[in-house]
Amino acid sequence: MKNFGKELKEDFVIEPGYTCVNHSSFGYIPKCVLKQRIDNYRKFLENPDCFARYIIPKQSPLVRQTAAEFLNASPNQCFFSNNSAESMNSILKNLGLSDKDTILYLNIAYPMVKNVIKYMNTNFKVNTCMIELKAEELKKEIILQYIEENMKSKKITVAILDNISSQPSLKLPTKEFVELCKKYDVISIIDGAHGAGISEIDLKELDPDFFFTNLNKWAFCPCSVNLLYMKEKYLNQIHNNTVSVFYGAGIEKEFEYYGTRDASIILSVIDGINYINSFGLKQIIEYCENLAWEGSNLVAKIWETELLAQDKAMHSAMVNVLVPHKDHSYIMECSRICYEKHSVFVVVFEFDGKSWARFSATIYNCLEDYEYAAKSFLNVLKKEG
């Protein structure tokens, strides 16, 4: 069994010579998972009729079982979609929300989530309430305080919180959030896009109304597969956002087939989870969180800047570092040049009037990667190469 770090990199499908410090946007997969994936895919293409009719109905329950177990949930409450957008659209558009309802969310919610909320507001006049968090307010107690304040003073119907936000990336207090939702009778939706494989998720314990998570970001499944979980009481209410041949035949069937597509990809869910289990989820999380923290602190040192949030406990395996430049367009351009010249891609984004870089760490990363990324990006910023 190989150790985490450099020696594991050759076991992964990564462009030769590429330094990856952004594992999490789409995910990179082990070679063994890809090999199995292509085998499954060929089997599907060789005889799609029989694959869809005879193989998938047998395999699909096993996949759902494996994924549900991994998240400690009941399989009958877990469904696969292509991505978080499909899951979120399916939930929010089927809660029967109207102008009498209000959706609560944070300003650091993912753009797709914000757009679905905007859609609900535009088309159904649903009220919205966004909590604006500034850099200095990115603390667990403050976030919870703001959430509770809003739930106390307004009639909130549904509230959405990331498990781990995207940009900026922070680990958010989902357990306390769900408790607040229960206290104030609010439907809770957790955007766990970043979740499976990088958090220890226990849905029975967490007990949200809704939860969705990508299996390709951190659970070594090819891009992309998403798992949607919901409480039993919603099983008859929620429909797949895409209406297709099984509309009305039960949510299970609606998510099993909703238009022709590659029916073989979900088989890779088992391969990804097996890969995680071969190392141990706790071990993976520990390595990644520590390395992301160490690596980002190193970047901050090289750039002579700082981290967005100083508390390690507020982070998963993604950490945000201040970019030493003020012009965001210029910074975006440098990100592209840095990839072309130095074969390393640095994620940059704007938050609270400043530009930040987000660094991810996974099991094939090592400290060198962050040193290399920091120096390369700095060179480009300073137009020194």
Partner: protein, 385 residues
């Protein structure tokens, strides 16, 4: 044609020993398209950041251009969708239909289309009129006159009809249907799921309001590629059914990215179209049409039954033959047994109270396939296996 038939079958990804007489549900791909697919896919997985952020916007332009040329449509009006459900959901839910509107469709419309219409009636009180087509109505003149009758006597807002229906499968008079819609000021939507690669679609000539077509059924692409065409006047009105990060940024961007997925898949559209160009679309259509007709007639002879419709001009490369048995469940059981025992899969469906099979023909088929399928299934039906 010498090039087609058994010789070309070895160029296809088909399960060893499997006799395929149902090319059209999902499609079967040429080996060269498959190997290019794996190349594109590996490139994507090796560096999804680069692929999605830098390459993909260039690729989508090329893909849409290729599709637009192939369909003789304007590039700006062709969108990349995943499948027909994706396309149709996006259209019908964004036309602003209310209880003052009526949707017209045929009883032989595909279940996804019928369900989406049901969704509109359930959720928005939109009215619907279904033209019942029984066996005796299945000729061009009757179909057109029943259609016109509704347009004349009812205020129809939008009409949906197939280019080629699925079950039963017939070629519909879309040119005339579109003209009728224009005459009576109804929006027309052409479900050309069966279209690209098996009909010479000329969108400039047809001039529909909307048309969507799969590239995996007959255009030798893997599952999950669909093109949605729409008239310019709708570009600002329609939204992708799945709200995501590009919501409101223009339809092309909404369709380009509606959530994470396998972004390399659409590249196969170019490979599929190149494959068609290699042999010539008209040659492919001619071979497939003639063989489907010949094959189906042979099946009817062996079964001592009949075709659903006796007019060759009402057919594409799919023809329906009556199964010599009354019990639908039994016919389905035999379908499974026939696959298990004889490695041939026959589509089985019920229409107008009788049981039918639908036979498809593609380049790699020969008349022997239909003889084999007919004899095998008959043996199973008679319990003689």
């Amino acid at each position: 044609m010498d090039t087609f038939g058994l010789k070309i079958k070895e160029d296809f990804v088909i399960e060893n020993g499997f006799v395929c007489v149902n090319h059209s549900s999902f499609g079967f791909v040429p080996k060269e398209v498959f190997s290019q697919r794996i190349e594109h896919y590996t490139k994507f997985l090796q560096n999804p950041d680069r692929f999605v952020k830098l390459d993909y916007p260039k690729y989508t332009a090329e893909i849409r251009k290729t599709a637009a040329e192939f369909l003789n449509a304007d590039f700006n009006q062709c969108m990349l969708a995943s499948n027909s459900a994706d396309a149709f959901n996006s259209i019908i839910k964004n036309l602003g239909l209310t209880e003052n509107d009526t949707i017209l469709y045929f009883s032989i419309a595909y279940p996804m289309v019928q369900n989406t219409i049901k969704f509109m009636t359930t959720n928005y009180n939109v009215k619907e009129i279904k033209i019942e087509l029984k066996r005796q109505h299945l000729d061009k003149q009757t179909i057109l006159s029943l259609f016109e009758e509704q347009l004349k006597t009812q205020k129809i807002t939008v009409a949906v009809f197939d280019n080629i229906t699925a079950l039963p499968s017939l070629k519909m008079p879309i040119k005339e249907l579109i003209l009728l819609c224009k005459q009576y000021n109804a929006i027309n939507i052409v479900d050309a799921a069966h279209g690209s690669g098996i009909t010479a679609l000329d969108i400039k000539d047809l001039d529909p309001d909307f048309l969507f077509t799969n590239f995996n059924k007959w255009a030798f692409c893997p599952s999950g590629i669909n093109i949605l065409y729409l008239k310019e006047q709708y570009l600002d009105k329609i939204h992708h059914n799945t709200i995501s990060i590009h919501y409101g940024k223009g339809l092309a961007k909404e369709f380009e990215y509606s959530g994470t997925k396998d972004f390399s898949l659409p590249l196969s559209l170019i490979d599929g179209v190149n494959f068609i160009k290699k042999y010539g679309l008209n040659q492919i259509i001619q071979y497939s049409l003639d063989l489907a007709w010949e094959g189906a007639n042979l099946v009817a002879q062996i079964w001592q039954t009949e075709l659903l419709v006796n007019d060759k001009s009402m057919h594409s490369a799919m023809v329906n033959v009556r199964i010599p048995h009354e019990d639908q469940n039994y016919c389905r059981e035999c379908q499974k047994k026939c696959y298990e025992k004889y490695n041939v899969f026959l589509v089985v469906f019920q229409y107008d109270q009788l049981n039918w099979t639908r036979l498809s023909a593609s380049l790699y088929n020969t008349i022997a396939d239909y003889e084999y399928a007919a004899k095998s299934y008959l043996k199973v039906l008679k319990g003689e296996e």
